[in-house]
């Protein structure tokens, strides 16, 4: 696959961007972020129906469009840019990729078409969002007469408040397995949490002897590739947000006058902007590369780790400067900058910190070297 995007891909990005520019305005974001569901059902319907984005990455056999991580990354990037509020990441990315990776053909036929057409809002229940190695310590499954029973608590689950399907990673004597759970089933307790970033809703989800159906084979859930896919999509979301903030900050620097000159003419601010551009461009390159590696299977295994670490650092640095360069105005609630700042902050620690991803990358380099 060639570097850069094809014309089709660029056109696809334009479609996504135009849709979100229209639907996910700062005004809409502010309205949705204070609702309990956190999303606009009408927009969700258009997203799945008219624009048809939810099944982008799913094979046609399961109701999807058969595209790959590059196209999915384009969506995630634009959603990050426009700060889209809704269960796309939880349902299409997290749950979608989880089922695609671990489910049997039957599982996929049963679950993916709903995810693809938006009638199912799924989420992936992980009892740890720091590292795949720590998943399974709080949630366990035991086999029961008619399947499995789950017990335990996942302290943070994305968009569980609107999910009608839960894909749950839980420990079994055979190892980590994925399960399908009906949120209405017995023993499921979903509780909304107060969050730092109100554009990404979180709930705690508890299970008490909740009936669950195994996906794929028991103990065969390999969370590493799933984590790589999710991290890559999150990295796209982050560089999208970083670009939005960088652009709006440049506009501000050109417009704002102090001491008789546009503040963007002050050399220390100009140089800072150049430094941020460099960091952003490298993060973008690494993020797009991760999607290409996942799409082709060629390249560094740890490309998703690179992408998440770099996108995360770039986003948070740009977000800090987006506030700083606006001065007091940037710290007000009225100004939109903090919406992206908070998304940057929550993304920074979601699915592993930069440090964790860099350490993971080095482990993979060293494992490869040992062979």
């Amino acid at each position: 696959m060639a570097l850069g995007f094809t014309e089709d891909q660029r056109a696809f990005r334009d479609v996504v961007a135009r849709f979100l520019a229209d639907k996910s305005t700062p005004t809409a974001v502010r309205e949705l972020m204070v609702t309990s569901t956190g999303y606009d059902a009408a927009v969700w319907k258009q997203l799945s129906g008219e624009v048809g984005l939810l099944g982008t990455h799913l094979p046609e056999a399961f109701g999807g469009f058969g595209f790959g991580p590059v196209e999915m990354g384009i969506i995630a990037e634009e959603m990050g840019r426009y700060l889209y509020c809704g269960p796309f990441f939880a349902s299409a990315v997290m749950a979608g990729y989880a089922v695609l990776g671990a489910g049997s053909e039957v599982d996929k036929l049963r679950l993916l078409p709903g995810i693809a057409d938006g009638s199912t809002i799924a989420t992936l229940v992980l009892d740890n969002l720091n590292s795949p190695d720590q998943v399974g310590q709080q949630l366990g499954a035991t086999s029961a007469a008619d399947g499995y029973q789950l017990s335990g608590v996942a302290s943070m689950v994305v968009d569980a408040q609107v999910a009608n399907l839960m894909i749950v990673a839980a420990n079994t004597p055979q190892g980590i397995s994925l399960f399908e759970v009906d949120p209405q089933a017995q023993g499921v307790a979903v509780e909304a949490l107060e969050v730092l970033d109100p554009t990404r809703k979180l709930c705690s989800v508890g299970f008490t002897q909740t009936p669950a159906q195994l996906l794929g084979e028991v103990g065969q859930a390999n969370l590493d590739p799933l984590w790589g896919l999710m991290s890559t999509m999150l990295a796209h979301e982050m560089i999208g947000g970083a670009q939005a903030l960088f652009a709006s900050t440049l506009d501000y620097l050109k417009l704002r006058v102090q001491f008789g000159r546009a503040i963007g003419s002050f050399q220390s601010l100009k140089h800072r902007a150049a430094d941020l551009l460099l960091e952003l461009e490298l993060a973008k390159a690494a993020t797009h590369e991760a999607a290409r590696v996942l799409a082709t299977g060629e390249g560094d295994l740890y490309a998703p780790n690179m992408a998440k670490a770099m996108a995360s650092d770039a986003y948070i640095n740009i977000a800090k400067q987006a506030i700083q360069l606006r001065g007091g105005i940037g710290f007000t609630w009225e100004e939109d900058t903090h919406l992206w700042f908070k998304r940057a902050k929550s993304s920074e620690v979601f699915l592993g910190t930069s440090n964790w991803h860099r350490e993971r990358m080095m482990q993979q380099i060293e494992e490869t070297a040992d062979v």
Binding site: N128, L129, N130, S155, M156, L193, E194, V195, L196, D197, R200, L202, L255, R256, V257, Q258, F259, G260, R261, F266, S268, L269, K320, I323, Q324, G327, G328, I329, G330, F331, T332, W333, E334, E335, T337, H338, F341, K342, K345, S346, E348, V349, F350, T353, N355, E359
Partner: protein, 430 residues
């Protein structure tokens, strides 16, 4: 910049510390009672001349030196006696009026500041002039017998409680920007003044916006002369930079029993309300190590490094500040001026603290509110730290000051020295 008021009060030797403490002690024996109302007690205090002993004798004071006034405070603290209204912008008002007001203004305003009858606010900053305060565009024009004022102010602490405001406004657009400003005392309780709370990204609303539309000021409320505004504002700003101690009871007021303390605590709570998140803004360095231990992140080599860097910076800044203070006390001026450097250090430290808190929390840093880590303190740190490098002069302004005044590097070229009318400015300000 020396404090205009303290300068005014430092005259002659006067009574000794012992004499003072005996006298104030006797006076308190006769007058102090926890059953008095706050305003009744403060009226006694003012009339008895113990409200502000460092002030001139003509205006409620005794012209005491700093040491002499401290001797009075000592007795107040020891006995848990409530002092005059000190917290918040009232102090800025009284010191500025004392330094620059005429006799009439001092007579009209100072007493009610001491008794707490009237609250004040500062009306300096504007949306269009933040770092560039002197570029403000609120207009005051003579119209018949009054000044008519129009404009918008921002970052006005406690403006929603204020009876009066310290207003900086432009009275001449043909002079260079610093020369066309005048300083007014404005009645906030008039139709042309609208105060709206200004919410911050961390959810607090510590400040206000003030919209001024055809508000009126009598000529007798011009402080100093027309065009002297910038010079007088410098006094207000220098007092503001000294910070304010809030509770002058040495912390005892929190626990003492009696009606006057209840009233005092209510007053204090209102005055301090805007500042509850300030410790979080500074990064809560004190919580970094305990938090890392709590989450187990202390075992992570990265976290240890970042935490160590934080503790190093904090230690360095503490020692540097203490050394500078010690040197200042001993009259040794070898040491680098501490103000701007200390402020810059605080920014760097707060950012590093926020980073450490983020690493120590991991994904838990996505949560906020009372149910989240340390009852929401960590979350409040993460969304409050961005303010520290902005409030009270941005880091960029501090670096300008350090590089020009401390390191004596050449000044930035200026584009705003001509008539203010011709200086480029924000669209909204023209």
């Amino acid at each position: 910049m020396s404090n205009a008021v303290e300068g005014a009060g430092s005259q002659g030797p006067g009574p000794s510390k012992e004499q003072i403490q005996t006298e104030v002690g006797q006076w308190l024996d006769e007058h102090w009672s926890v059953d008095l109302s706050l305003s009744a007690w403060r009226t006694l205090l003012v009339d008895g001349g113990w409200a502000a002993p460092a002030w001139p004798t003509e205006f409620f004071g005794r012209a005491f030196s700093e040491e002499q006034a401290a001797a009075v405070s000592e007795v107040f603290v020891a006995r848990g006696v409530v002092g005059v209204a000190q917290a918040g912008p009232g102090r800025l008002a009284s010191h500025t009026i004392l330094g620059h007001g005429n006799s009439d203004q001092k007579q009209r305003y100072l007493r009610s500041i001491l008794t707490g009858e009237h609250a004040w606010t500062q009306l300096f900053s504007e949306p269009g002039s933040g770092s560039d305060l002197a570029g403000l565009t609120t207009k005051a024009e003579r119209s018949g017998d009054v000044w008519k004022v129009n404009g918008q102010k921002v970052w006005n602490t406690s403006a929603h409680h204020a009876d009066y405001g310290l207003l900086l406004a432009r009275t001449d657009w043909d002079l260079p920007k610093h020369q066309g400003l005048s300083y007014f005392l404005i009645d906030m309780r008039q139709p042309g003044v609208e105060v709206r709370p200004l919410k911050q990204m961390n959810g607090h609303a510590s400040f206000n916006e003030v919209f001024i539309t055809d508000a009126e000021i009598l000529p007798i409320d011009l402080l100093g002369s027309e065009g002297e505004g910038w010079r007088i504002a410098a006094t207000t700003l220098s007092i503001e930079r000294q910070g304010f101690a809030g509770d002058r009871s040495g912390g005892r007021a929190r626990t003492l029993v009696g009606p006057i303390y209840d009233e005092y605590r209510d007053e204090l709570a209102i005055a301090l309300e805007p500042y509850t998140w300030y410790p979080q803004r500074a990064g809560r360095v004190d919580l970094a190590l305990p938090r890392a231990r709590q989450t187990g992140a202390i075992k992570d080599a990265q976290v240890r490094q970042e935490l160590a860097k934080l503790l190093c910076m904090q230690k360095g800044a503490d020692i540097a500040a203490a050394t500078a203070a010690a040197a200042k006390r001993s009259g040794n001026n070898e040491v680098v001026p501490a103000g701007s450097i200390g402020k810059l250090a605080a920014s760097v430290i707060a950012r590093q603290a926020s980073h450490v808190h983020t690493l120590a929390s991991g994904a838990d840093a996505m949560l906020a509110g009372p149910a989240s880590a340390l009852e929401g303190i960590i979350a409040e740190v993460l969304v409050s730290v961005p303010a520290i490098s902005i409030a009270g002069g941005t880091d960029e302004i501090q670096k300008n000051i350090i590089s020009e005044r401390v390191l004596e590097l050449p000044k930035e070229p200026r584009f705003d020295t001509g008539p203010f009318r011709d200086v480029p400015r924000n669209l909204a300000d023209t």
